[in-house]
């Protein structure tokens, strides 16, 4: 066996140019596969982070049905006991309560639909990036109930600046009575996410409660966990534990179903690419091996004539393919690493583009997992060996006399 391996290596090294070219082709194919995979993972992470860290949180607890209609009456049942239990959960890193009301915001210049969000400035910062997204003014501090934060786009629409006054109008829960209050723009933020910059206004939790007539209650608890995967796992017991008494707890995977669609699409896409690449590999290998076969027809004829058994002939070819595969893998891995390093340094900017309901904010980086550099190369290697069986069979069935005559 060792003899054959040595032979195989030497054989493919005989025509360096062809070996390098074939190796490169395969290598690029492999590199593409790994790179795409890394990019998709990076995309997933980026989108999850974008979606959850800007405001959504990794999971939420709402009253059943709230997320469908946003009715002010649907507040979380037993809020205090839920919050108390959450504070004792080891898996929960941070959580905060929020009040949401749909209404209108108006200034002398314009009027617009708004989602009024009452937040607790003390516990909100770990769960959303409002404080980081502020471009002017200050974050809510709890001192002034008249403070209000709006997005830059909305401020432009209303033609207001820091310090200007706006009126929020919402309808009280249960009665539907219109409730108006005047606020002062104390901060302007820019998320580069249309929905937030244009239609959200953040006020003190208690102000929102007062306006909606729901003292001591909340519509939503946003949660961040110690492990990132909990939000993605529908079956995690945490969700069942808190989906009781008319409340429902859900991770981002449920809150943003389109995101999951993206991931399925990414798997589909990688699969497709894999199939394409394997087709490519097949063609290139066959091409290469047959070329080298034809070249050495006379040799093979002699080998057979000398008594080499068909199986051994076949084995030789397969081993040559294996050697080629190894070279390709090395080349491919190096190429891929180079590409990954460059991309990792610069990042890909999709900022502002919206995809599957999530807007890209941070730069996109590929995510390398060690498995990628093991699974894919091994797959390519095995597949190469498999494909090599075809020319190997051909070589095995060569009749010595014919072979020697077919040479030139």
């Amino acid at each position: 066996m060792k003899l054959y391996i040595k032979l195989a290596w030497r054989n493919i090294m005989r025509n360096k140019r062809r070996t390098i070219i074939a190796g490169l082709a395969l290598g690029i194919g492999l590199a593409s596969l790994i790179y795409t995979d890394a990019l998709w993972i990076g995309l997933e992470d980026n989108m999850i982070a974008s979606a959850t860290s800007s405001f959504l949180g990794e999971g939420q607890i709402n009253r059943e049905g709230f997320r469908r209609t946003f009715e002010a009456e649907l507040t979380i049942n037993d809020l205090d006991s839920v919050m108390a239990r959450l504070s004792r959960e080891p898996e929960v890193e941070h959580f905060t309560e929020r009040v949401l009301g749909l209404g209108m915001i108006s200034s002398p210049a314009n009027i617009s639909s708004i989602s009024m969000v009452g937040i607790d400035p003390a516990t909100e910062p770990p769960l959303s990036q409002i404080d980081e997204a502020l471009t002017e003014g200050k974050y809510l501090s709890g001192d002034n109930p008249r403070d209000l934060l709006i997005g830059r786009k909305l401020a432009e629409l209303l033609e207001v600046e820091l310090g200007d006054r706006v009126v929020l109008t919402v309808a009280e829960a249960h009665t539907g009575e219109l409730s108006q209050e005047m606020f002062r723009v104390s901060g302007i933020f820019f998320f580069n996410v249309a929905e937030m910059d244009q239609s959200m206004a953040f006020v003190q939790l208690n102000q929102a409660r007062k306006m909606l007539g729901i003292e001591g209650q909340a519509h939503q608890i946003a949660i961040d966990f110690t492990h990132r995967d909990i939000g993605r796992d529908r079956k995690n017991p945490f969700w069942a534990r808190y989906s009781t008494d008319g409340n429902e707890a859900a991770g981002w995977v449920v809150l943003l179903p389109q995101l999951e669609g993206v991931f399925e699409m990414s798997q589909f896409s990688t699969l497709l690419l894999g199939i394409v690449l394997f087709a490519v590999v097949a063609l290139v290998i066959i091409n290469s091996l047959f070329m080298s076969l034809y070249e050495r027809m006379f040799e093979f004829g002699v080998l057979r004539a000398l008594g080499t058994r068909p199986l051994s002939m076949g084995r030789l070819i397969v081993l040559e393919a294996g050697a080629l595969a190894v070279i390709s893998i090395v080349l491919g891995a190096l190429l891929c690493l180079a590409a990954l390093l460059i991309t990792d340094h610069y990042g890909i900017d999709y900022g502002g583009i919206e995809f599957a309901g999530v807007t890209f904010r941070d730069l996109l980086y590929p995510v390398v997992e060690p498995s990628q550099f093991i699974v894919y190369p091994v797959a390519v290697f095995l597949f190469t060996l498999l494909i090599a069986l075809y020319p190997a069979a051909y070589a095995a069935r060569l009749k010595p006399a014919e072979a020697m005559r077919r040479s030139f």
Partner: protein, 255 residues
Amino acid sequence: MIRIWTTTGLVVLLCVVAVRAQLKKSGDPLVDSLVNEVDRLYRSSSSYAEMEMEIVTPHWQRTLKMDAWSEGMDKTFIRINEPLKEKGVTTLRIDNEMWNYLPKTDKVMKIPPSMMMGSWMGSDFTNDDLVKESSFFDDYSYELIPSDSGDENLYYINCIPRPDLAVVWGNIVIGVEKDTRLPVWQRYYDEKKELMRVMTYSDVRTFDGRTLPATMAMVPTTKEGHKTVIRYTVAKFDIKLDKDIFSLRNLQSGQ
């Protein structure tokens, strides 16, 4: 026995009034009465007025015609009659509560204290201006200041709101004509001493025995092309008023 209690009560009341008066007193009875008169210019124990309000902005222009009733300094009722689109829209203020009523949709909207500085019906006058919830005499401390333009015909009175008053003004300067004791203008400054708006009185006429300016023009200095002018066409004072005028029922009667 009853007499003792009544007397005590009266004495206490007098003291309270005296003390309150002490707080507001600028030390100059002239200024006190001037300020009081400005407050009560269009009001009395009761009053009825018909006026029109012309609102001008760069985008639109409209003229409202309305009737207004008031009782003392505590109650105000305004009903819009024209244009047809806004006919029957009413505003009611009792003490420190205020409501708007929209007849077309039968909606009563309570105006919270925070909205007092908000615009009334899109004009340059605030809710507070129209319903007179705050008064210079009760809610501000005031003093005479020298005129800045050397105008010898006017008293300049500087009014500073008491700290907890929910207004956005840092101070308001009233220019009162010395001989007629009628205000000529009011200048509103914000907390940073910037001039925010100017109200100008003009067209002095006699209504029901009283001499007062029939026209008030409010011009904000921070926005271009905005102006609101109120013109009194009818004003009656100390008339008999139906008790039920200042009620939520009347607000919604849409008559």
